[in-house]
Symmetry: C2
Subunit: 319 residues, 2 copies
């Protein structure tokens, strides 16, 4: 049976260094507990939850798994402090932070014995996270779905540069949807992977069936990074995404772009399944996803693929 031991499996006391990204409208207790039960690390995505709803998800997740799981908190959210409070009160020991400075909550989290991981799009932000006291970083490449960095650094370029410059372990994210991507990430020096879109298109994901179907139908060029002036986001191309792209090409300013975006388009796209006007946040790896599997089946498939890839590499590389 496959064993995968890295600094990340040690850090979280998990079996496999495969982390399910905490995604808005996608990863509630069902998805997170399913991933943790397989030996990976499930994350509840607090970004689309009010504090009391987060508490409910944490409690349900505790009932559904005895294995470690965590919570992802986007720091820039207005009520992020409340989300952190709930997380600490509920005795959660693993928190992934994103979208904002990790300094803001690191003290309260570390005082409560929480392992803190921050998501970064570049070496500069990686160094800041390490300096702030984070235990690890997720290096997220340009190909990742949803919100993204301004520097457009891709996974294959970003990960080895983070590994060279940081002392804390690096988890790779962006473009990874199968065993090939996982072994590629390990080859780049990552100690683990964070997988988003692939888990968003599982049975246990709370995304709308229409969203999942759009991911399955997507090809290599079906997503685009847009709205760069007001916060880059990678979306499956639809009516809204094309309008945003066109506005960008025509040089619209921030104010006009914000008006175009409006509010709640993430919910509209991912949770309500509005395939035309919603934001269908997904990564370039969508083109690798052809079926909506239960987490258990997907996880076993990933493990089988890892073995297959490593065997092939050992056939090719004779040293």
């Amino acid at each position: 049976m496959l064993k995968l031991k890295t600094k990340i499996t040690e850090l979280f006391n998990i079996e496999y260094p495969i982390i399910q990204a905490g995604m808005v409208w996608v990863s509630g207790w069902k998805l997170a507990s399913a991933v943790s039960n397989c030996g990976g690390l499930g994350l509840i995505g607090a970004g689309s939850m009010k504090p009391e709803l987060l508490r409910e998800h944490i409690q349900k997740c505790k009932n559904a798994t005895n294995k470690p799981f965590g919570v992802n908190i986007p720091i820039q959210r207005g009520d992020a402090e409340k989300l952190v409070e709930v997380t600490v009160e509920e005795n959660i020991k693993i928190v992934f932070t994103s979208a904002g400075s990790p300094k803001r909550f690191i003290n309260v989290l570390k005082e409560n014995g929480v392992t803190v991981v921050h998501v970064v799009p570049s070496v500069k932000f990686g160094l800041k996270a390490e300096e702030a006291g984070c235990d690890a970083v997720v290096g997220e490449g340009f190909e990742a779905g949803g919100h993204n960095g301004l520097d457009e650094i891709t996974t294959i370029a970003l990960i080895p540069q983070l590994v060279d410059k940081l002392n804390i372990p690096v988890i790779a994210a962006g473009g990874i949807a199968d065993g090939r991507g996982i072994v590629a990430a390990l080859s780049l020096g990552a100690e683990g992977v964070q997988i988003g879109t692939r888990f968003a298109a599982t049975v246990e994901s709370s995304a709308h069936p229409v969203y999942k179907q759009k991911v399955v139908e997507a090809e290599d060029n079906s997503t685009v990074l847009t709205l760069k002036k007001i916060g880059p986001v990678r979306l499956i191309k639809n009516d809204f995404a094309y309008r945003a792209l066109k506005a960008e090409m025509n040089g619209w300013d921030e104010e006009k772009l914000k008006e175009l975006l409006g509010k709640k388009r993430e919910m509209q796209g991912i949770f309500e399944g509005d395939e035309k006007e919603g934001e269908l946040e997904a990564g370039q790896s969508s083109g690798l996803i052809h079926e909506i599997l239960p987490v258990k089946d997907l996880f076993q498939k990933l493990l089988d693929e890892i073995v297959e890839v490593q065997k092939r590499n050992n056939r090719i590389i004779n040293y």
Copy 2:
């Protein structure tokens, strides 16, 4: 001693599936022969050569190595037909084509027993290359230096999708500068790699010392893909690149952008070393390049790194 056997080493009858990209103003006979002498595949970049200069480089390359080498021909060039003619006359048996439809010269090349590889940025163009009769494709990701595709698909997302959809072998390019990138590419299913920027910054490269120095100084976020409306190109950020970016942000049309670009900026940047106003074409892997080595030393370093990475993977992945 390391052995690396793939469909690409068989196709070209070379020892290692490491191909040096045929780059304008960079890869003449000196670089190409040095790479081929190490057991990789050197490519003469015809894109910046008049037909008779190409002939001279081919002849000098023949004198400098007994190993296989090839020529890269950008199909959209005005005198591409002449370049193809010279290549065939000089009995070159390996041609990489890029920037244009591979159909244009495939018949004359195949009739003369040439192995033809086309560079593609997406599955769509990969399928077209296969249909045209190409023997392999280079899948080039968004992170690659120089001219790039419109779909912005990155190496880690592109390569497995090409591998799944094509029957001919796939060579990975974009973001690869060391052994980690090479093993990552093999993990993704590639049969070989094409490396550009790393070879552009070797002793044998004909790029200007200032260009090489800019690559060495570059960090993870030092390059940018710009001029998307008139032909996307990845450059090290300098005065010209910032002007181009600003014009793009302000929604300039094609005509104005072409005027801004003008002519000969590639030569000005890469060959003449104008660090402010020239186009310094380079990939995101620049941030991984810290020294200007002779090809022989670099090649040995890559091979050593491949072994190191595969050993680490075998320590992590126990099946």
